[in-house]
Symmetry: C3
Subunit: 216 residues, 3 copies
């Protein structure tokens, strides 16, 4: 089956490519739900099934053999490699790389530059066969430029701080950061942002830190 099924109400910029043929395996159908908004430079491969309301930024590539739920957003410059399962309402921001065989639960958020790995030791004989990305739980929040290693499981609602390298499982609801990332507390115990900043109205960056430090 190489059919392309497009839902009603598609708004795609000129030059968007629907049903790009993958180099691996045979070509298969593409299913794209209603109400998609696809910006210039977006490429959706054959072999993928996408729910309603997909929104993409510019220059987004979504490869074959993926399943995306409803109302997923994928922003400019992000690549979703093949074989991923991405839940409803997931937002993947700009310049991310989602490795083959990654699982992302509903409502999770990946900030710009998040890069996922799926090969524990590139070059080992069993690498190709055992290749698998991380599993990111529902509602987890992954900060900018975070690296997550293969097979790592991040629990529901966990928060991974910007620039972290996550090399172990992180339990649900925890805050973790650093290289390597370790748990520093619970999301439920975070100080509200409004108690940490003061307005800085003359700057385009509109606030400053009250004590000059986000974290040590």
């Amino acid at each position: 089956m190489t059919e392309i099924q497009i839902g009603t109400g598609l708004h795609a910029d000129p030059g968007v490519i629907l049903g790009y043929a993958p180099a691996r395996g045979e070509s298969r159908g593409l299913s794209l739900g209603p109400g998609a908004r696809l910006r210039s430079g977006t490429v959706l491969y054959l072999g993928t099934r996408i729910g309603a309301g997909l929104e993409t930024g510019h220059h987004v590539v979504i490869r074959e053999d993926c399943v995306l739920g409803d109302d997923v957003s994928v922003w400019t410059g992000t690549v979703v490699d093949y074989g991923c399962r991405i839940g409803a309402r997931v937002k993947i921001h700009a310049n991310c790389y989602i490795a083959q065989y990654t699982e992302i639960g509903e409502d999770a958020f990946l900030a710009p530059g998040v890069t996922l790995a799926n090969d524990l030791y590139p070059g080992q004989p069993s690498s190709a066969e055992l290749m698998a990305g991380p599993a990111i739980g529902p509602g987890a929040q992954i900060g900018v430029n975070v690296t997550i290693l293969p097979y790592v499981r991040i629990g529901a609602g966990a928060l991974i701080g910007a620039g972290s390298v996550v090399s172990r499982n992180i339990a649900a609801g925890m805050v973790a950061y650093g290289n390597p990332a370790v748990v520093h507390g619970e999301v439920a115990g975070l100080t509200a942002i409004e108690h940490r900043v003061a307005p800085e109205p003359e700057s385009a960056s509109r606030y400053r830190l009250l004590n000059g430090v986000v974290r040590s």
Copy 2:
């Protein structure tokens, strides 16, 4: 006003998009100064005001409600999100992400892969309202693949080492690096590069480190 005002001497590759309509808010004008050089895949949104001599690489996206000074360069694959103010002669290299509400002073340089954050705790109720990027001072030099957290203020002429995660304010003229980045000295005290390297003429990488280490 949805008018697009383009200065004289524009050199834009085929397919460049000028005045892309943002999804948020109403459409507004785009003002682009004279002498711009825009390479293939570049998208400039409505609602932004840009000085003379803008130069872009390929596949660059500059969103709405930004103000850019004269002679700004933005290289391939970089995204400038909405609401930023970027000073004259700033150079933003390839594959960077400039978060909403970021301030960058004149003559600053951002190396490839720099990723800025603007949400202290993604998912908190006040996140959307208090969203703000870092403020990078005039002439600051930000190394490759550096992550900068929200609200952080980097002083004029500071140098942030490659791969750092900047989670606190850095004073003017300081050298900082690491995860988290801490100050290791002053820019004025750096050894001249020519005293740290020796030619390696048979290699495309033309020099080697005299002692094999950039920093510990």
Copy 3:
């Protein structure tokens, strides 16, 4: 010489640009060997010489004055800057930045998001003249989102762990990681992947870590 020489059997998507004129220096020829497969958004500059069987992802840019061997792959969103020498069968994955004057030996692999630097102290007077990227040895494996500093030399077959910042030379065959990256063992001493994971069949991420930790 501004001639463009294209080998037989080219398969290039519509809109691919062959022989883009660089802003620096005079225009020179482009030589592209037989059997190339170039995907949408790819731009190859004048002044570069490429062997047989080049394969690119989408939105790839390869600048001038580079020499690439046979059967090189460069994946989506990656930028190869000018003056690089890249050996046969090198694979550079998605969203990488290859700095000017980088050397990459045959059969090396760069995972997604790898970012190379070539300016030790941006802003110093001698920066432009002494600019040089790292030298990555044959068969080296560079993990996702790794940062490598200028002049650093990585030996043949070395493995650099995901998210590392490499600021010193790494000897052949070693495993190094961290920020800064330090040597933690030899590639030859790594446990086989199949002894570290167990199947997790209900997940798109198909395996889990036996002890929950990749590395400490």
